[in-house]
C-alpha cells in the first residue's frame, strides 16, 4: 500500500518542521506532501528543509482547496491512500499507523477522533454541545458511531481519493462535515480511531453561546446541502 501524507499548511512556519519530522519517524519511508496554501511566511522553506515535498498554491484557498490538490497529486502519482494531518501540530502522528491499519482492513474513511476516550477534551460548553448534535446526525448517516466529525486527521482509501480529487468542497466546514456526508451517502465504509489531541498553542476555542449557535446553523446548512447535492 503506497501511502501519501498530505499536510495542508497556511503560515505554519513555527510548527511545520516538527510535524513533518514526527510524521517521518512515525511512518518511515512514507512520502510527505506539504500543500502550502499561499503562505506569506517561511512555511515552504521549513517544510523543504524537513524533507517534505512541497506544493505551493499561488493564493490562499482554504483547507478544502489545499486538500483537493493533495488528492489530485495522489491520483497522478498513483498512491493508494492519503493520510491528512493538520500542520499546527495538534495531532500526534504516532497515531497515524492505527488509521492506516483500518484502511488496510477495508475501511474507506478513517477519522482520528479527538474526543473518543484518549487525551483531553478541547471543547467545552455550547460549542461542544453543537459538535455533539452534529456528530449524532452524521453517525446516523454513516451507520457508525462518530464522535469527532470536524477532525483534521483522517485517512482515505483509493476509491475515495479518486472521488475527492474531483470533488472536494472549499467552503466553511466543507472539508470536514460535507466530505463525511459525501462518503456516507455513496456507501463508503467510515470508521473512527481514537487519538490524543495536544493543547493548541495559538488561538482559543470559542465558548460563547451565540457563536456555537451560528456554528451549528452553518454546519446544518452544509449537511443538508451535502445530502441534496448531486
Amino acid at each position: 500500500m503506497r501511502v501519501l501524507v498530505v499536510i495542508p499548511a497556511w503560515n505554519e512556519e513555527a510548527s511545520i518542521a516538527t510535524v513533518v519530522h514526527e510524521v517521518r519517524s512515525a511512518l518511515p519511508g512514507v512520502d510527505v506532501l506539504v500543500v502550502d496554501d499561499g503562505s506569506t511566511d517561511k512555511t515552504v522553506q521549513r517544510a523543504r528543509e524537513a524533507g517534505a515535498v512541497v506544493a505551493h498554491l499561488p493564493y490562499n484557498l482554504g483547507v478544502g482547496g489545499a486538500m483537493r490538490l493533495g488528492f489530485r497529486y495522489a491520483v497522478e502519482r498513483d498512491y493508494d491512500t492519503v493520510l491528512q494531518i493538520d500542520a499546527d501540530g495538534q495531532h500526534d502522528p504516532a497515531f497515524a499507523p492505527q488509521l492506516l491499519e483500518r484502511i488496510e482492513a477495508g475501511a474507506d474513511l478513517v477519522i482520528g477522533a479527538r474526543f473518543a476516550g484518549v487525551g483531553e477534551y478541547p471543547a467545552r460548553g455550547p460549542r461542544r454541545w453543537a459538535m455533539t448534535v452534529l456528530s449524532k446526525s452524521l453517525s446516523r448517516l454513516a451507520g457508525t458511531r462518530l464522535t469527532d466529525t470536524t477532525s483534521g486527521m483522517r485517512a482515505t482509501s483509493r476509491p475515495l481519493v479518486e472521488l475527492f480529487a474531483r470533488h472536494y468542497p472549499m467552503d466553511y466546514l466543507g472539508d470536514t462535515v460535507e466530505t463525511l456526508a459525501m462518503a456516507a451517502r455513496r456507501g463508503f465504509r467510515i470508521e473512527q480511531v481514537p487519538v490524543a489531541m495536544r493543547v493548541r498553542e495559538t488561538g482559543k476555542p470559542s465558548h460563547a453561546v451565540g457563536m456555537a449557535t451560528v456554528y451549528l446553523g452553518r454546519a446544518f446548512v452544509v449537511l443538508v446541502l451535502a445530502l441534496i447535492r448531486r
Binding site: 498554491l57 490538490l69 497529486y73
Partner: protein, 131 residues
C-alpha cells in the same frame, strides 16, 4: 409629452451604451441579449404609455407603475442570481488553474532542481523582497 421625451431619451441612451460596449468587445453576447431586450422594452413602453396600464390590468394590478416596479425587481433578482452563479463558476475555474500551476511547478522543480523558479507573489505580500 415631456415625460415621453425623457423616457425615450433614457431608453435610447441605455440601448446606445449596450451597443457601444458590444462594439468595443467589453461585453459578451450572453449578457448583451438581456440588456438589449431591456433597453428595447423601455423604448416601446415610453412610446405607448397607455399599453402599460392595460397589461397591468390583465395580471390584476391596478396601475402600470406597479407592474413596472414588480418587473424591475424580478429582473434585478434574476441578474443578481446569475452573477452569483457566474462568480461561483469563476472561483471553481481559478481554483483548478491554481492547482494546475502548483502541480506544474512541482514537475518543473523536480526536473530542474537547480533552477530557481520564482514564487508567485501578491502585491501586498510583506515578505516580498522586491517591494
Amino acid at each position: 409629452m415631456r415625460l415621453l421625451i425623457t423616457t425615450i431619451i433614457f431608453g435610447v441612451l441605455i440601448l446606445g451604451a449596450i451597443v457601444e460596449l458590444l462594439r468595443r468587445r467589453r461585453l459578451r453576447e450572453k449578457y448583451a441579449a438581456l440588456w438589449l431586450f431591456t433597453g428595447f422594452l423601455v423604448i416601446v413602453l415610453s412610446l405607448f404609455p397607455g399599453g402599460l396600464d392595460k397589461s397591468a390590468g390583465y395580471v390584476g394590478m391596478a396601475s402600470g407603475v406597479s407592474l413596472v416596479l414588480f418587473l424591475s425587481v424580478v429582473f434585478l433578482l434574476i441578474i443578481a442570481m446569475h452573477l452569483s452563479w457566474e462568480v461561483s463558476q469563476l472561483e471553481e475555474e481559478t481554483r483548478s488553474i491554481s492547482e494546475e500551476i502548483a502541480l506544474l511547478r512541482m514537475e518543473l522543480e523536480r526536473s530542474q532542481p537547480a533552477a530557481n523558479i520564482p514564487r508567485a507573489r501578491r502585491r501586498d505580500d510583506p515578505t516580498d523582497p522586491s517591494s
